[in-house]
């Protein structure tokens, strides 16, 4: 079975005070090769936990992850991760960040050079190769993170709110870039986001998770990502059904959040 399987994952965190949090309960999912799935859900529903388990940073209490039918443990270069921010290496310039993976494998500049240069061009960083990370704008930094992940040629790309810290305009540009890279490279992608619009625009599949315990609440199959590859994203937003699905999901999440907030405000 090719692709990424999440098989009946449960995750319980034991807290220092003796109690425990059921962050995930019986989550199962299969992603075919080349699929792009976006994940939405209220704060604390276990999105990051799920992604960390897939990446291998956390070992689940129950269940397991399989790649192309084989169980996997621990982090591995075949599953690349793009973090929100602050995961770049500030002490290296742009090019050294992007070539980090190949260099760790012991490759030489002659081996990885052209590939890395190509990626820098694709992500529009060609002129910034030698710049320090802190000299770049937030959007450029996220492009470096993307390029760094791609340079390692992973089968699966995991993204945890990669565009959360960007301003509206830059964010829209980056969304276009993600779609383009997805189509061109054919990677399997899981993208966590807090923005309903982003989830709608980018996800072929859209997973809505619910909290306490973290679980899959609903799944959608959406046409917008495919449309977005070719059309202007702002045009896509005007397409039929978009507004309605958006309202539906927004209400769903608001209801869940209201429930949580109600509980915490009362507790205050």
């Amino acid at each position: 079975m090719s692709g990424l399987s999440i098989e009946n994952i449960s995750m319980r965190f034991d807290l220092p005070n003796g109690s425990s949090v059921q962050a995930l309960k019986n989550v199962s999912l299969h992603l075919k090769e080349g699929e792009l799935m976006s994940v939405l859900g209220p704060s604390g529903c276990g999105k990051t936990t799920l992604l960390n388990i897939v990446a291998g940073f956390l070992a689940p209490t129950e269940g397991h992850i399989a790649m192309n039918g084989h169980k996997v443990h621990g982090p591995n270069a075949e599953r690349g991760m793009v973090f929100q921010q602050g995961a770049l290496f500030e002490w290296m310039n742009v090019r050294d960040n992007v070539s980090f993976g190949p260099r760790m494998k012991g490759q030489r500049a002659s081996q990885y050079g052209s590939h890395v240069d190509h990626l820098l061009d694709v992500t529009g960083l060609g002129d910034f190769k030698d710049k320090a990370i802190y000299e770049l704008s937030g959007g450029m930094q996220q492009r470096v993170a993307l390029a760094r992940c791609l340079a390692n040629d992973p089968d699966v790309i995991l993204m945890d709110e990669p565009l959360g810290a960007l301003d509206a305009l830059t964010r829209e540009k980056m969304q276009g870039l993600v779609l383009k890279l997805w189509k061109e490279t054919g990677k399997t992608i899981i993208l966590i986001t807090h923005s309903v619009e982003e989830a709608l625009l980018l996800g072929e599949r859209l997973l809505v998770m619910a909290p306490r315990p973290g679980r899959i609440h609903k799944e959608y199959r959406l046409p917008y990502a495919d449309m977005g590859v070719n059309a202007d994203l702002r045009e896509v937003k005007k397409s039929e059904g978009y507004s309605q699905t958006r309202e539906e999901i927004l209400s769903m999440i608001w209801d869940m959040e209201e429930e949580i907030m109600g509980r915490t405000e009362a507790a205050q």
Binding site: A77, F83, A87, L88, R148, C149, P154
Partner: protein
């Protein structure tokens, strides 16, 4: 100010009759006086001590003698003189150089031991368990309180002073390295893992560079503390050195040398800090810009 031009005049020292035989001061400048009273004349204030001797105090306007606060030009000309001909058999540059050498040697060894210790504490629970209490306890001990112990252990020579500075820098550097390690964002480590880095590679390419800014901050603090400590160590057990220079000068009330020394110590302390900041800017340019 206790020392001043006040003097006690034991009036009967040159007289034939002595106080023991009943001679007493009854009047000064035509004004009667008795024990405990005092009289002001144009020349100053006279009073009788409880033993019946005369105590004389000139008007306080004159009290500000050069030994209290020398004029700036005296300090400057003293700088020229000592820079040329030295003080106590060593040139000014030798004194300052000795102090600086001690600071650098002590700091160097402190960093050499402290940084790996801090890394070990940040990375291994075993090390943290053992050394955290020691380090946390030693940090608030003023390095100078260790002088007497260091004197017993290593005498008052060069070794002793360098050991003292070593101890002054050690804990600061260990704590800086430890917090440098524990301050690594876990997402950076995760990113490196999922890019295929091994543990050793993560140490080398992620943890060490990431801890550099903290280590530099620690180094700046440690250098400041070492500089203050060396001066004081030289005050206590003086051979050559900037601290010894001002301490010895103060014993001979050469206030201009004292003030010149203090200014030079301040300037060098300031210089060290500037230098460290510059090194920080050059070597860890990403600091506080990440």
């Amino acid at each position: 100010m206790t020392a001043s031009r006040s003097t006690t005049i034991i009036f009967d020292k040159n007289d034939e009759t002595s106080r023991k035989e009943g001679a007493k001061i009854v009047a000064i400048d035509g004004t009667p006086i008795s024990i405990g009273q005092s009289i002001k004349t144009a020349a100053g204030q006279f009073s009788l001590t409880d033993k019946g001797a005369i105590s004389f105090q000139p008007p306080s306007g004159l009290q500000m003698e050069p030994i209290w606060l020398p004029p700036p030009e005296a300090v400057v000309s003293r700088l020229g003189e000592i820079a040329k001909s030295g003080y106590r058999d060593s040139t000014l540059w030798e004194h300052l150089g000795f102090s600086l050498f001690r600071v650098i040697a002590g700091f160097f060894f402190g960093a050499l031991v402290g940084i790996p210790l801090g890394y070990a504490m940040g990375l291994s629970d075993w090390f943290r368990g053992w050394f955290d209490p020691i380090v946390e306890f030693m940090r608030p001990v003023p390095p100078l309180a260790l002088i007497p112990l260091v004197i017993i252990w290593a005498g008052i020579g060069e070794t002793g002073k360098i050991i003292l500075l070593f101890l002054a820098a050690l804990w600061i550097m260990a704590i800086a390295a430890r917090s440098g390690v524990s301050g690594v964002r876990i997402s950076k480590v995760h990113a490196a893992y999922s890019l295929g880095a091994s543990k050793a590679q993560i140490m080398r390419y992620v943890i060490v560079p990431n801890s550099l800014p903290e280590i530099f901050t620690g180094a700046r603090v440690a250098m400041g503390v070492c500089w203050g400590t060396v001066v004081a160590a030289e005050l206590v057990a003086a051979e050559k050195g900037a601290g010894m220079m001002i301490m010895v000068a103060s014993k001979f009330q050469l206030t201009d040398i004292v003030i010149m020394g203090i200014i030079l110590i301040g300037v060098i302390g300031f210089g060290i800090d500037i230098l460290m900041r510059w090194a920080e800017r050059v070597l860890v340019p990403w600091k506080s810009k990440g």
